[in-house]
Amino acid sequence: MRATTRTAYGFLTPYLLIFAAFWVWPIIYSFYLSFLSTRVQPWTFNPTFNWGRLIIDPAFFNAFKNTMIILVIQVPVMIALATLLAVLLNSHLLKARGIMRFAFFAPVVVGEVAYAAVFRLMFQADFGVINKLLALVGVAPISWSSNPTAAMALIITAVTWRWVGYNAIIILSGLQSIPEDVYEAATLDKVSKTRQFFFITLPLLRPIILVCVVLSVIGTMQLFAEPFLITNRGGPGGATETLGLFLYRQGFTVLNFGYASAVAYTIAAIAIVISVINFWLGRDPK
């Protein structure tokens, strides 16, 4: 082995050991687990046991459906809002820039449990501050925790509140890497600001928006703490049960590790397929 190779692996070894123990082995092991019947001891090899159940399990289908609904509504809304915020926060005309940025970026540092607690309390049906504020403008109280549609809207609202600033930071950094003279030239040519946004800014931001979409999709596929804590274990009656929550239940409440592993691999497969489609749709047209 060449000397540089030996030195390089010297630096890499501690990191790679952690990687091997806590990622490589688990990835292989959970694939194997998904082919085991783990409901009763001893575990036995039964390739169709979990995968066969997955295809026909209405509870899995419900979690899958809910996750997809959240994905299809929440991700586009959030990314559009994040792009808008990034453009507005980047404006030369903005006053109190620091406070404005703080308002939208602050949720990024708020932990899942803390924000879930506040949202649960704010959206409480009888005494929650949101229903009290809605009453001021004449809206009848909404039963956020017992109406399935309202509960879903609550989850989508909460996730958007928490993550829009994160995506805006990323898009803003992309905006700031666009050279100023591109816009100066466009302004000289009397291109309106709106057209500049659609024909200069958006195309140049496309790669970075794509990254945001993929990160958000992966995040949504694993949504767990919000339905677990805000809508009380995916309530009402499973209306906000997500794939992440379903996996948690199978793996760590029922301790059916084999079935949970099959669910985990399904989540990974869906996330990868959606990511690939995204990159394919967003590839350079050339």
Partner: protein, 278 residues
């Protein structure tokens, strides 16, 4: 020229007409967290609209402390996040250094694997990690369980690699000519030069560990080895638990991070942006 300055004025007004209400909406949950934490229970659950703080924070916190031994869990969280951050910064710096400054067999493979894990959902590894740590090693409810399994992170490596590869190579070559050993070049020359990157990475790692919920929830359930978010989460949804108390816990978890965010905003933003750009 007058028409131009009028357009500018119009734009400025329009911009703030959109942003100011949105900013207030976005700040509202954090404001209400603080308000709730200072209100007595009967004010939170009254039919009056309460939007301003009161003076019951200490009482509420005492209720939370009685429910969970919250101070102990905050201590656990501080220790875990600190040790995790220090160890992780070292591991990822070393790996990033190797990937930035040496050409070696298998480099492409290592890099591809690290990049690949970025798109892999954590759920694929969490079940075997749990089986391995809790059942096979019998290490549930330990510091090891809280700190070591989450250590692998691909973001830090890519972040550090980027920083090291932008440094001038002549500097390291000069040290080599003088016979300085490779690990000394790394420790004495490269690491100090990477200080801004390390600062940003520290913040991101500390925050991730401080707010981590799922793994500590699974692996540690003994009250004295719970992290603060897990202890707080265990109260949500229970009846006869003080909501004012829960909110004081949320404030204790959130305000230090918000304060750090205000002071170190530049590093935070750099860390988050770098994570996505790679």
């Amino acid at each position: 020229m007058r028409s131009k300055s009028q357009t500018t004025l119009l734009r400025t007004v329009g911009l703030h007409a959109v942003l100011v209400p949105l900013a207030l909406i976005w700040l509202f949950p954090i404001w209400m967290m603080i308000v709730f934490s200072t209100q007595p229970e009967n004010a939170i659950f009254s039919s009056n609209l309460v939007l301003l703080p009161s003076d019951q924070f200490a009482n509420n916190f005492a209720l939370l402390q009685a429910d969970t031994g919250f101070l102990r869990t905050v201590f656990v969280s501080i220790v875990v996040a600190t040790v995790y951050t220090v160890v992780s910064v070292f591991l990822t710096s070393m790996a990033g250094w190797a990937l930035a400054r040496y050409n070696f067999a298998g480099k492409g493979v290592v890099l591809a694997i690290i990049l690949g894990t970025l798109t892999l959902p954590y759920f694929v590894v969490v079940i075997p990690q749990f089986i391995m740590v809790a059942r096979d090693f019998g290490l549930g409810n330990t510091w090891f369980a809280l700190i070591v399994p989450p250590l692998f992170n691909s973001l830090g490596v890519l972040f550090m690699r980027q920083s090291f590869s932008m440094m001038p190579g002549e500097l390291f070559d000069a040290a080599r000519v003088e016979g300085v050993k490779e690990w000394q070049i790394f420790l004495r020359v490269a690491l100090p030069m990477a200080r801004p990157t390390i600062a940003a990475l520290c913040i991101i790692l500390f925050l991730a560990s401080w707010n981590n919920y799922l793994w500590p929830l699974l692996i540690n359930n003994r009250p004295d080895m719970m992290t603060a978010p897990v202890a707080l989460g265990s109260l949500i949804g229970l009846t006869r638990v003080s909501w004012g108390g829960i909110m004081t816990g949320a404030v204790v978890l959130t305000l230090p991070m918000l304060f750090a965010f205000v002071v170190l905003q530049r590093h935070f933003v750099a860390g988050i942006a770098a994570g996505a750009i790679k």
